[in-house]
Structure formats: C-alpha cells, structure tokens
C-alpha cells in the first residue's frame, strides 16, 4: 500500500479543525491521517480498515464487488477510520480540499466517540497489530496443516460471527467448563445434613428415618438440577465451543481452538460498532455539519458544494417514501435531543402539560442541549438511544412509519405510531439485528450432543432455515457430535398461508438433517429426515 502523509495544504486545515473541535468539547485520540488512492481504499474497506487480516477469499470477493461499484460510480468513499490509540484515518487522494475538510471533521467526531463512549471502553486499542499478528499465526498454521484444511476451518469460524454476546462486554462472565463439572463430580455425593443435638437419644428422635429420606430427596433433586450443563442459557456460543469442544471431540486439533479464539477476539472488537452504529454515524454527521456549516470551515464559496455532499451522506427528508437511512435517523435524533434540552421540553412539567399551544411554545431557555448530547454520546448505545428519546412528536415531524406485508403479499405502510416504529427499530438493532441463539444443553440426550436454542418469541421472525442448517453443520464439525437447535417453524394451512408457528427442533446428524415438529403438549407430530 502506498499510504502517504497528508499534504501541507490539508495539514493546515486539519490543525484548524482539530483545534476548533477540541474547543467545542470533542475529546478525540491523537489521529494519524493517511492519503491513499482508491485501490488501496478498497483494500482497506475489505479488511474493515486494517492493513492486514487473516486471509480469506470473502475479502477478495468484496474487493471485486467494491471495485465494480466504484467503476460504475455506484459508490463514493470518503474516509475510513479505525478504533485504536492513536486512531488511524484514511483519506482518498483524489477528493478535493472541501471534501477532505468535511471528512476530517467527520473523522474527529468518530474518534471522539470511540474514545468516550462507554461501550468502546473494553475494546482492544491495539487491534492493528493484534490483527496482523492473527494473520501471521494463520499463515503459520497454513504452512503446518495445509492451505485447504485451514481455509475450510476459517470458513467455519467466519460463519459463527453472529453467535457471540455483544452485551456481555461489561459484566464479567465466568463460563463454566466441563472440566470444572468433572472436578465437582469427583467430590462425591453430598451427605445429608443432620441436625446437631449433642444428645444421642434426641439425635435418634430428631434425625429419624423420615427426616433422612427427606434430606436425600432434596440432595437428589438439587443434583438433578445441577446436572444441567450449562446451568443457564449461554449466549456466547463461540466461547462455549472454545471451552468445551475439546472434551467432546477428541479429533479437534489444538490449532483449531486457537483459531476460534482469534476469531472471537475479532468478533468482540467489532461488537460495539454494531451496537452503536446509528449513534456513531449520527454523531459524526452532527459534527461535520456543525464544523463545516456553522463554524464556517466550508467557506462562503464552498457551502453549496458542502450541502450537496452532506445531503448525499445523510438525506434528511426523502422525496420518495422508502426505507429509513439509519445514519440520518441518528443525526435527526441528536438534533431533536439538543432542541428539547435547549428549550426544556422534557421532564415532568412538560409531560403533564395538557395545552397543545403551551407545549408548542414551550421554552425555558435552559440551553442544556449540548451538555445533554455529550452525555448521551458517553453512556448510551443504539438501543437505549432510540427507546429513550424517540417520541410521537419526533415520529410525526420526521414522517416515520412501519411497513410490512399484508395478507395479499403487498408491501404496505402499516402504522405511524411511535410504539410500532420503535419496536421495529429495536428489533432490527437489538443484538445487532441478529437472532438470539443460546446454548441450552451441552449434554443433550445424555449423549454429549449440543442443543442450541433460538428465542423465537423475542422478535417473532423466522430463521433462514437453509443457512442455519449449514451453520449447524459447521458447528457439528467442531463439536464432533450431533447438534440440534430449538426454534419455531410455520404451520401452513390448506391455502399454503402461514397459520401459526409450531415448536420444532432441527438436528444435524452425520449425514442428514432431521426435523422434529411438536404439538402444544410437546409430542412429536412430524419427523422428517433430509440428506445433506
């Protein structure tokens, strides 16, 4: 890659922007800017900004896609910034000075967000070298165990990236492994707790046979409950595999476990970015607009061009009805918060007020908007951001609505109320918009099989069965024994429409998939076997 330092002309502007941004309250890491041409930019995009990552053909595929999009003018790249300390940002060489200025402002806001947002606190700030180190190790593995073997396993690892627990960044999750369980079992069975009397005669009376039987029943019951492994549902499926697969599958080589751990590190590094996408982009857009338009960095002659770029990045009000742009949603919500806290349109008094006119003209001149959005930037993630600050006024003002399929298969506008809109948005961002899948049982059927559990009722959305089965096949190759997943499948009525959902269990065995469908009492009503 031919990364060059930025030109003196841009450097002058950069210093001005950095100074002004810091005066306005931003607190970014030191940021190193590089200039690259579009080819290098595409490479960086494929590796999500990192100079090196574990080699995989899917990055190559993306580079071909991006190259084609770029060639046909479907894609415009402005910047790339990596969450690290110091942060690295890449600018495109052939963008003009105005575009570069706008990008620099944008980048400083991103870096400020990386540094200060709570959800980014646990991330590894030295990921650039960590990733390169991973790549190096993977190359070594390729040499030792063969290209094909390693590539096959990388394919498997990459298909597991939705199976982590992004919200676990903050509580110290201690995972129990099978070896702990074995140690516990070695201790032997718990003795009945006898009541101390100090008197042999009384002892025989108090600790009589009936009491001992009762104690024994309690012990056996507790033991049975403890026998469940894991004791609670475990969201971090990858960690579960890392900890326990080696005990179940004796053919699992150590390097595979190492590889899984490397990938888990990478998944967790990217997890906060998935949790704060709307906030992060909104924050950056808020600040590049503030710096360029309100602080005058665009200049008098550049303001129109800037407006054009800005509306390309965050189209505010759509002419045509269509799906929402999450980035502009973030920007709009920040402005909404700022407006509400500037004018004091919040709190008990405002909520209690009945008069519409009074509400409209509500202005206490608090001017606490800036302070509030800085607070929001620090402590919130997308989920809290949307659920707390989105209200009916916001939905009305920005013309938001939900859409979905009606009974004729048409896509229609369903509702303009805040609650469904918020619910739909939360569904699409909770857990990064991915299904909730847990490990339910590591000793399923008492045969050491793995049972996963998909929380269907949380969103009511169905899994993509075909892909799920393929992933289960991948997990099976790690676990070494059959893997099942509990979810729900649609029941079709006579017309072929979906009448409801039934509990189902999909099992992946050595050569086939088995579908079990249950009725309400938990009995199997249908069993189907499909070859791989």
């Amino acid at each position: 890659m031919n990364a060059e330092p930025i030109t003196p002309e841009i450097e002058v502007e950069r210093q001005k922007i950095e100074k002004r941004a810091k005066e306005l309250g931003l607190d970014p890491f030191d940021t190193v800017f590089h200039m690259v041409d579009y080819k290098d930019m595409i490479q960086l995009m494929c590796y999500t900004g990192f100079p090196r990552r574990i080699n995989h053909w899917s990055y190559g595929m993306h580079s071909i896609i991006y190259e084609n999009q770029y060639r046909y003018g479907l894609m415009k790249v402005y910047e790339l910034v990596i969450n690290s300390d110091p942060a690295h940002a890449y600018l495109l060489k052939n963008n003009n000075l105005l575009e570069q200025k706008f990008v620099i402002g944008h980048v400083y806001a991103h870096v400020d967000f990386f540094k200060n947002n709570l959800w980014f606190k646990p991330t590894n700030r030295n990921m650039v070298s960590e990733m390169a180190w991973h790549a190096e190790r993977a190359d070594k593995m390729r040499k030792m165990y063969g290209d094909e073997e390693v590539e096959k396993f990388v394919d498997i690892c990459m298909s597991l990236d939705t199976l982590i627990d992004p919200y676990s960044l903050f509580y110290n999750t201690e995972f129990e492994s099978i070896s702990d369980r074995v140690k516990e079992t070695m201790k032997g069975r718990e003795q009945p707790r006898l009541i101390k009397t100090g008197n042999p005669f009384l002892d025989r009376l108090v600790n009589n046979n009936e009491y001992r039987r009762k104690e024994m029943r309690r012990i056996l019951k507790e033991e049975k409950a403890r026998r469940k492994f894991p004791r609670k549902l475990q969201k971090d499926v990858v960690k579960f595999l890392i900890d326990n697969a080696k005990y179940m599958n004796h053919n699992l080589e150590t390097w595979k476990v190492d590889m899984l751990e490397m990938f888990r590190d990478e998944f967790y590094y990217f997890a906060p970015q998935r949790l704060t996408k709307i906030m992060n982009e909104g924050w950056a857009s808020y600040w590049h607009y503030k710096l360029m338009a309100e602080e005058g960095f665009a200049g008098n002659d550049g303001i129109f061009e800037f407006a054009k770029i800005h509306s390309g990045v965050v189209p505010l009000d759509r002419q045509q009805p269509g799906p929402i742009n999450p980035y502009s949603l973030g920007l709009q919500l920040y402005r909404w918060i700022e407006h509400r806290w500037d004018t004091g349109k919040h709190g008990l008094d405002y909520d209690k007020c009945d008069s519409l006119e009074k509400k409209l003209n509500w202005d206490t001149r608090d001017m606490k908007g800036r302070e509030k959005i800085f607070q929001v930037r620090k402590y919130y993630n997308d989920l809290l951001f949307l659920s707390e600050f989105m209200d009916q006024d916001f939905v009305d003002e920005h013309k938001l609505w939900t859409y979905g399929y009606d009974e004729f298969g048409r896509v229609i506008v369903k509702s303009k109320d805040v609650e469904p809109v918020r619910q739909a948005l939360v569904n699409s961002i909770y857990n990064g918009g991915e299904p909730l899948v847990y490990v339910k049982d590591g000793n399923f059927n008492n045969k050491g099989e793995l049972l996963l559990y998909h929380d269907f009722d949380f969103t009511g959305k169905m899994l993509d069965i075909e892909k799920t089965l393929k992933v289960m096949r991948n997990i099976r190759s790690i676990w070494g024994r059959d893997v099942s997943i509990e979810t729900k499948l649609p029941i079709q009525d006579k017309d072929g429409d979906i009448a409801g959902y039934a509990d189902a269990r999909l099992m992946c065995t050595e050569k086939s998939y088995v579908f079990y469908i249950f009725d309400e009492d938990g009995d199997v009503v249908e069993e189907r076997e499909v070859e791989w």
Binding site: Y59, I64, I324, V471
Partner: protein, 371 residues
C-alpha cells in the same frame, strides 16, 4: 498489503471459476458464439458466494416490519407482490451483472472432460521432438539447482566406502554429482484433417442450420484446441457441392434441392488430391436433414462411400436434424445399408438432433467412443 488482498481475490476467483465452469455449457447453447475465432473471450455471469450465518429469513417468510420515512399514509401500497423486492432490500445487494471472461479454449477444455478425443493414429513420417514437462531422468551434468542430493550422496558414500579411507565424512566430488533432467521424447507427428460438411438446401430450416452449425462449431473449436496439427476443410452442398472458407461456412444462406452424393463426391475429390490417406487421419462430419432428392442418389452416395471414402478415413459422423416437416430417411437407409445397429465397430457413427438441447448429446454420440 497489496499482496494480501490480491491473494484473497485470486482465491475467490479460483473458487468461483470452478462453479462458473458448470455454466459454460449454457453459454455453449447460445448461437451467437458461432463463428467466433479461437482466442475470443466469452462472457459468463458468475455468482457471489455467501457464507452461511444464523440469520433471519426474508420478511416474506414471516419476518417483522421495517421502518420507512417519507410522505405516506397508513395503508399505502409500496410494492405489489409481483415486484417481489421489498423496499428494505433495495440497494444492499451488489449488482448481479458481473461477468467473467472465459477463453473459448477454456470452454473447449470443459467439453473435453465429457468427450473422448478421437484416437488419432500416428501416421506420417516426421517425428516431433518434444521434452516432457517433468524432470524424469538423471544426468551427470546440470545446473546446481537440479542437483539430486540423495543420489549424489549415495554415490559419494559408495566411493568413500570403496576407497577404504572412510572417515565418517562424506564429501561428494564432481564425479558423484547427479542432476535431474528432462527426458527427451520423440513423439510421432499426428496429422489429421476434418471435413465439415453441411446440407444448406431449402429443406433445411433456419433452426436446423443453426443446430448443425452449433454442433460443427463446437467440434471445430474443441478439436483445434486439442490438436496443433489439424486441418479443417469446409464443404457445403445443395444439388452440387463446393468448398467454402470457415467464415462462409458458418454464415452462408442458400437454398435449393438436395443431392447428398454431390458432397461426398466433392469430399473424395479434395481428399484424394490433397491428403494422402497413408499420412493423414481423416474425419468426416456431415449434417443434413436427410431428405435426399431421390433413391438413385442415395445409392450413388453409398457407392462413392464404399469405393472412395470408407477405406481411407477414420470416422464418418452423421448428424441428422429433425424439422417440423419430419425427418428424411437417409439415416434409415444408411443404417440399413451398413447394418450399423449390429456393428458397433463401424466407422460410421450417427446421431439425431431434435432440439437445441440435443447438441451436447450429439457430440457425445459422435465422439464419446473415442474413434
């Protein structure tokens, strides 16, 4: 870093190319390729590969709602079911219209996997010198890079032990050194000529001509890719036959009556003038709807074939096309005359083309046996 992404790109192309290969056959069916020269590129669309992940299905299969923005009222229809695309999906997917350029010869190679090459016999006097691609033999001289260490060491050890001054140190001297080297090979030159012959009379419809040309085009492409020393001659006929160039052969439009004997007469004439059967492998591919002028001409054809053609050639391939008006009876006569049903070793191979899909089958019929 550049190397890193290039490596990934190359790997992806390798993977996708294997998948795309399967599609080449579809490309073969396209008539528009016909007449293109070897070395031209063919565009074949290819797929992106998606890694499987546990994800939600599309909203159509019982998914949740999406959120939109803009001037709309409750109940507004955004998309009809026929349109298919749900608005949330638009713009996310990369354009599907990416094409991979394939050499025509690559398609030909794909064909070769299913067909057997004709057994071209070594005829002719010249021998071509060629070297094998692998280092097969050992020589006493050579570049240091090709030193055969094991052999060298063995020789040194032998010499050392024999000299009785063996001290435990074995140092090879020049005489011990052995090198891997290419083995020279002399392979006989294989001469082959193929006569492509086609009926372009009025009874052959446009479609039938297209089938015939497609068939002969692929045979031409495939064989010329496999044999460097291959000549092709093109003959067309109606009531009389004449030789044409390759371009003309694939594009000529003519009409008129049909006299099959004429084309074989012409072929025999060219063959005996230009190619000595002692030195050349001779192949005939003939396409027609089999609707001959009269029976006398059919008998005349058989006479010519018996006397002037059959003893000298390796194979005669005959593909009969079927039109809406049915098919001629030349195939039936041919089968009867040479008793083809009971004679699997016959030099005459026949096939029928009833639709575009049969072209591949026809090639298998003609070349699947490796005659």
């Amino acid at each position: 870093m550049t190397g890193s992404i290039e490596r990934d790109k190359q790997r992806f192309l390798d993977i996708t190319r294997q998948k795309t290969r399967k599609r080449l056959k579809e490309a073969m069916k396209k008539g528009e390729l016909i007449g293109k020269k070897d070395g031209k590129k063919v565009k074949v669309p290819y797929d992106y590969i998606e890694l499987p992940r546990i994800r939600y299905g599309s909203p159509g299969q019982g998914g949740g709602d999406g959120v939109g923005q803009g001037d709309a009222e409750e109940g507004d229809v955004l998309a009809d079911p026929q349109e298919g695309d749900e608005p949330g999906q638009a713009g996310n997917q990369p354009g599907e219209h990416l094409y991979e350029d394939f050499d025509l010869s690559e398609i030909a190679k794909e064909l070769a996997k299913e067909l057997e090459l004709p057994r071209i016999e070594p005829k002719g006097k010249r021998l071509i010198y060629s070297t094998s691609e692998k280092l097969k033999t050992i020589n006493t001289v050579g570049p240091p890079g090709r030193l055969h260490k094991k052999r060298t060491f063995k020789n040194a050890l032998k010499r050392n032990l024999a000299s009785r001054t063996h001290t435990g140190f074995v140092v090879p001297i020049r005489a011990d050194k052995r090198y891997r080297t290419f083995k020279p090979e002399y392979i006989p030159e294989m001469n082959a000529v193929i006569f492509y012959m086609m009926d372009i009379s009025g009874s052959m419809g446009e479609e039938q001509k297209l089938w015939s040309r497609t068939l002969e085009f692929w045979i031409d492409l495939w064989l010329s890719d496999n044999y460097k020393n291959l000549e092709s001659r093109y003959i067309v006929h109606e009531t009389h036959a004449w030789e044409v160039t390759r371009e003309d052969f694939f594009y000529t439009r003519e009409s008129g009556g049909t006299m099959i004997s004429s084309v074989f007469k012409k072929q025999a004439e060219i063959m005996h003038n230009d190619y000595n059967p002692e030195e050349w492998n001779i192949y005939l591919i003939y396409c027609s709807d089999g609707d001959n002028w009269n029976d006398d001409d059919t008998r005349e054809t058989f006479r010519i074939m018996d006397e002037h053609i059959l003893p000298y050639v390796n194979m005669i391939g005959y593909a009969q096309t079927t039109s809406r008006y049915g098919s001629g009876n030349f195939l039936k006569e041919l089968t009867k005359h040479y008793n083809l049903d009971d004679d699997p070793d016959s030099k005459i191979l026949t096939t029928k083309i009833e639709s575009h899909e049969d072209i591949m089958k026809a090639m298998k019929d003609l070349f699947g046996k490796g005659k």
